[in-house]
Symmetry: C2
Subunit: 345 residues, 2 copies
């Protein structure tokens, strides 16, 4: 295997299978069921593969603490209720987020084949992780998909300095005749995961990302974690993020603002919500558009130094599948220490 | 009636009823049916009332030209086909945009009362105008609503300088126990309507709004109209706008990129698409969330110099209903000249 050029002391490189096995073993050692551990591990490693370590194995210690504290309930069966033919209400019953989310996605996709459009509202699922794997998988199968989730209040309103709004990401994927277009972005200038990553590495954050606890702009990542992240794109980004929080909170009947807990801490049950909308392209009779979209996206790519949403992740993923995933050695040590007392399955 | 303090030579002030009557008369004089003229006029004046002249009566001359050229067909009945119980396909048959859109909105709202969620995909409707009136009306009735539309390729991709993407607005409204939250924003740094408004008034545009035909940043509004508008919020805003274009184009089986025509010109049939998603809050059983949302939005408003999306339009609207709408005298002269040969109904 050919490794990327690395300063050996700075990083360790682990292949995706080894890393998945390690994370799964950690989860199993801490009480996770086999299926839950597998789904959770795979989803964390997907984020690493796509070049988003903020949603990768850095999240594992909190997940383990939540397992130990009983805030993640292993092996639980989510409760699925079809409110109408097109609307699925999901009570995650505090299960692993990705386990609940993947089950939900399968159900709404299958149902959209008859109803055309389906909506799933999810409460009491733990952090579902990076959104793009869900919507991309759906788009590869011929569905247009939207995924939304709320998060802890980390972002200040435009015109305010107190953290009152989640980083509220939006993911949308649309199939084409070639690769789907896959949007996955937070509505903050940056995700808290990335700020935490900078803090953990002891490196500063760029100006414009965040304010400190006094509402002053800061480049100190650790100070930012007790302050507030700025919305992306000024007033518009704030407006979008707040509206998504309102929509997801109402639809999933979950908490809003500072009442959202449980994706960054190990002290409280999860109170955020998730929403999926799924549309079957073939069922609504517009499959003829897929090659039209492919040609358009190609024109956009060819117009400069331009990437279509999803392109970069695809390249990063292919690279890391071949060359491995680089990790901070301290993080790797932390992960492997969590395997102490493992009972392999 | 108390008028705002105005330099008399610079503006004329017209009350909303007079302006609506004038616009309706212009449309009738140019062949519009009574109902179409009323709906189109009311929608243009709604934009003026909300303080968005870019989507107001400034659009009337093009609408009149399109009527005269046969690209807007007055009195036509849109074709509504329920593809599934939850999905409505609408062929606007080149009718007035707002007339098609309001009919569509009524149908999807009524159906959502049984199905929970409905999707409408609209082709061959002329420019449906400002999106917020549609979603706000739905939210006031207890629906969560999303409205999307494509537009002429006016925005350059992030990393490119050629106009290949529409300004692709997104509107979302969510009911609360008090006022709904109403998002309505383009995914460009500014709407082309606003650039045209600056050009018409001979005033410069702020840096960052646009590039000229050579791809260079410009503050000359007229130069910007032959160049490209920048996406809002950098790479993220571009990613959002492009993905919305892909989604709306595929869902409504309408044109993408530079094949989108007919909202700014009077030379071609309209080729853009519109999408509405409507969710009945009561039907899905989450009405108890509405006071929770009200309290949260109040906390956000109270946290600084902060406005919740929809607040500003509400204030502007109330002010203009009392104090009238101010117009550029040249625009007013142009409007009134379009009434020549009017046959009042």
């Amino acid at each position: 295997m050919s490794l990327p050029s690395l300063i050996e002391d700075e990083f360790v490189t682990v292949d995706a299978h080894t890393l998945t096995d390690t994370v799964r073993a950690v989860l199993r050692a801490n009480g996770a069921d086999a299926a839950g551990a597998q789904t959770q591990a795979t989803h964390l490693i997907e984020a690493e593969l796509r070049g988003h370590p903020s949603h990768g194995v850095r999240r594992l210690p909190i997940i383990v603490e939540r397992l130990r504290a009983g805030f993640i309930v292993p092996g639980v069966e989510p409760e699925f209720s079809w409110v109408t033919d097109s609307v699925l209400r999901v009570d995650g019953r505090n299960g692993f987020g990705p386990a609940v989310a993947w089950r939900t996605v399968e159900l709404v996709a299958a149902r959209a084949a008859s109803t055309g459009i389906t909506l799933a509202t999810v409460s009491a699922a733990n952090h579902i992780g990076m959104l793009s794997p869900y919507v991309e998988e759906l788009a590869l199968g011929g569905w247009i998909a939207i995924a939304l989730t709320t998060s802890e209040a980390l972002v200040h309103p435009w015109g305010g300095s107190r953290a009152l709004v989640g980083t509220n990401p939006i993911a949308i994927a649309v199939p084409s005749a070639t690769d789907p277009i896959v949007l996955d972005m937070s509505t903050s200038a940056v995700s808290m995961g990335k700020v935490i990553e900078h803090s953990a590495r002891g490196i500063p954050i760029p100006a414009g990302w965040a304010v400190d606890e006094h509402g002053e702009s800061t480049t100190d990542a650790t100070a930012a974690t007790s302050g507030a992240i700025s919305p992306f794109g000024g007033a518009k980004g704030f407006a979008l993020g707040l509206t998504l929080e309102a929509m997801v909170g109402v639809l999933s009947a979950t908490a809003l603002g500072r009442d959202v807990h449980g994706t960054l801490d190990a002290e409280r049950a999860v109170t955020k919500g998730d929403v999926f909308i799924c549309i079957d392209v073939e069922r609504i009779g517009v499959s003829a558009m897929l090659p039209v979209l492919s040609r358009y996206l190609e024109e956009v790519r060819d117009s400069g130094d331009v990437r279509v949403p999803g392109d970069r992740s695809r390249v990063e993923r292919a690279h890391r599948l071949t060359h491995g995933i680089t990790l901070d050695p301290a993080l790797w040590d932390q992960l492997t220490s969590l395997t102490e007392g493992v009972h392999h399955d």
